[in-house]
């Protein structure tokens, strides 16, 4: 007995009617991919490449011209399939007249949740995204980062098994970005599948298990992240507190072998982000174990 993939997109085609003269525009051209349950999948590509359209087709917001999409085996054009999906749109605006808490309750009720479960979940999510203090303030008064966070909370309100994120960190400051990334990883550790689109490649690299590269409606490359970005014929070894003599020994050992080339040694560079986060501490958060960063010392 096999569990259905979390997401299955099969030969998806989407045409839009251009202005009358120019005929149709094919936004998505026979795109196929699958996402296994518990994976974090990133769809990357330039603006206008068809990422959003693919996402919308998956969520039933647009009807495919051809092909099919399924979520956990259910046809995406049926309302049923959205039971297990949480969606965070790009630049989300929610109803500005509602407060943070009211927003979560609204979406929770739409998913069929009731009190007291809904109340508990709302409080839990507000904690998770660190908006407990602002929960009674109207969304009209939220900053962009806060909107993003409430958006994430709303996407999670019904405990979905699949989370779809469209540009989750676009326009968010580094601390916020970091928090969102940590959240995604935590969700993965809970077994939730995450499907995200982004053009911020650096950030995709930090969270995704698999990526697909889409350009002009076509999926041009797909696979495990590690496999894709690994420079296959190079090896990296990172040491802490290594004395210079040890480095010399290793160097002699390596170059003694035939065909091995010593490319580089020295201090690895941390990222600017790492520096930033080191200098400017994030606000204290009750949960979340610290995540080891590449290059931080």
């Amino acid at each position: 007995m096999s569990t259905p993939p979390a997401v299955e997109v099969h030969n998806l085609v989407k045409d839009f009617r251009g202005p009358l003269r120019r005929g149709t525009i094919r936004a998505v051209n026979k795109v196929s991919f699958q996402i296994a349950p518990g994976e974090v999948y990133g769809l990357i590509g330039p603006n206008g490449s068809g990422k959003s359209t693919t996402m919308k087709a998956l969520l039933g917001l647009v009807a495919p011209t051809a092909g099919r999409c399924a979520i956990f085996g259910k046809d995406a054009t049926k309302v049923d399939s959205r039971r297990e999906v949480g969606f965070l749109p790009e630049n989300p605006y929610f109803y500005k007249h509602l407060s943070g808490r009211e927003t979560l309750r609204f979406f929770g009720k739409l998913c069929g949740m009731r009190d007291p479960e809904l109340r508990n979940r709302t409080n839990e999510l507000l904690e998770l995204v660190d908006l407990t203090e602002a929960r009674h303030r109207r969304l009209g008064g939220y900053s962009k980062g806060m909107l993003q966070r409430i958006g994430l909370a709303q996407a999670l309100v019904q405990n979905p098994r699949l989370l779809v994120l469209d540009e989750p960190t676009a326009g968010v400051d580094p601390i916020g970005s970091r928090q969102i990334r940590d959240l995604i990883l935590e969700l993965r550790s809970q077994g939730i599948t995450v499907f995200l689109c982004s053009h911020l490649l650096e950030q995709v690299q930090q969270v995704c298990d698999r990526v697909g590269i889409i350009d002009r409606g076509r999926l041009v490359r797909e696979g495990r992240l590690d496999d894709l970005v690994a420079i296959e014929d190079q090896t990296e070894i990172v040491l802490a507190n290594a004395p210079p003599e040890l480095i010399e020994d290793l160097r002699r050992l390596a170059t003694a072998r035939k065909g091995v080339r010593w490319i580089r040694s020295g201090h690895p560079r941390t990222t600017l982000e790492g520096l930033f986060l080191r200098e400017i501490p994030a606000p204290a958060r009750p949960t979340n174990p610290p995540h080891p960063e590449p290059g931080a010392s």
Partner: protein, 311 residues
């Protein structure tokens, strides 16, 4: 743990109510109710209005009550119709623009529920607003009617004393005054105002599913409103004279065009109720039935268009 039922129901009243409630709250927080304030001010001013007359026909008391009723009910009608058109025209384009629509439809919410929820939210707002104004109207009308009744009864007493009138005459006079006051027929007329607003709101809903622009929807719906009233008048002219041996297709086409617009004629009973006529419940029943029919057709058509709509 959250319990997911096996299938999402095609139509869930609970969900519709949630959406309706949300729409209602949204509209209320848009400070629509300043309109009510204007109404209150007008009502108070009109209460002190006295028709200039020295000697004149005895039915002047009724005219004063009419002069109270018609502007107030006019404001109510204006409120209801404007809200029906503008609020409905606002909802879907705004959700579209704000992308709130994406978030909602990404949840297991069928499009029908969404439409119904929006629509019922607007209707709820109109109903509540009208109810509040109706209460105020009835209160003001009641006091004014009692004043006029007291005057007329004093006159009647004098006439009876002098032997001109019988008790039956006095009763007749009393009934005559009371029928211009707050009667059940008047409440029925207020209900008719609501029904008319519901019909035009449903039309706005339908038109808004075609366009993504609030302004466009408002303009077209307003046109439909006036044409619906005007065509009601011209309808008979058309239907009678259009069968003058013309080309069959032209004849059918013009007929079809005329009947496409909603027929607002029966709602004119509001006018007569203001003038003091009695409105039998059967008439209201017929009006209600007619309105349900219009609303039903428009909502179903809206759903039809909206299901396909690319967002």
């Amino acid at each position: 743990m959250n319990q997911h039922p096996a299938r999402t129901p095609f139509f869930s009243p609970r969900r519709v109510m949630i959406l309706a409630g949300n729409t209602f709250t949204q509209l209320v927080r848009m400070k629509i109710f300043y309109f009510l304030l204007i109404f209150i001010v007008i009502a108070i001013v009109l209460n002190f209005f006295r028709l200039p007359h020295t000697v004149g026909p005895e039915s002047v008391g009724a005219e004063e009550l009419r002069s109270l009723k018609s502007p107030l009910i006019g404001v109510m009608k204006l409120f209801a119709v404007i809200l029906g058109i503008a609020a409905t025209a606002l909802l879907i384009p705004r959700d579209l623009e704000d992308r709130t629509l994406y978030t909602i439809l990404a949840k297991p919410v069928p499009r029908l529920d969404y439409l119904l929820g929006k629509f019922l939210g607007v209707l709820a707002l109109i109903l509540v607003g009208l109810a509040a104004m109706a209460i105020l109207l009835n209160v003001v009308l009641h006091f004014r009617t009692q004043e006029i009744l007291a005057e007329r009864m004093a006159l009647a007493d004098g006439m009876i004393e002098r032997g001109y009138w019988t008790e039956a005459d006095r009763q007749g006079e009393r009934l005559e005054v009371l029928r211009h006051g707050p009667t059940w027929s008047l409440q029925g007329a207020l209900l008719a105002v609501f029904l008319e607003a519901a019909v035009i709101a449903a039309a706005a809903l339908l038109i808004s599913t075609f366009s993504s622009s609030t302004l466009f929807t408002v303009v077209i719906t307003t046109l439909v409103y006036f044409i619906g009233h005007f065509v009601a008048d011209g309808r008979e002219f058309w239907l009678r004279t259009s069968s003058l041996g013309e080309d069959l297709t032209v004849h059918l086409a013009s007929r079809a065009l005329v009947v496409m617009f909603p027929d607002f004629r029966p709602f004119g009973v509001v006018d007569e109720a203001i003038a003091g006529q009695a409105l039998p419940p059967s008439v209201l029943g017929a009006l209600a039935l007619s309105s349900f029919f219009y609303v039903g057709i428009y909502v179903v058509l809206s759903w039809f268009v909206f299901s396909d709509k690319e967002i």
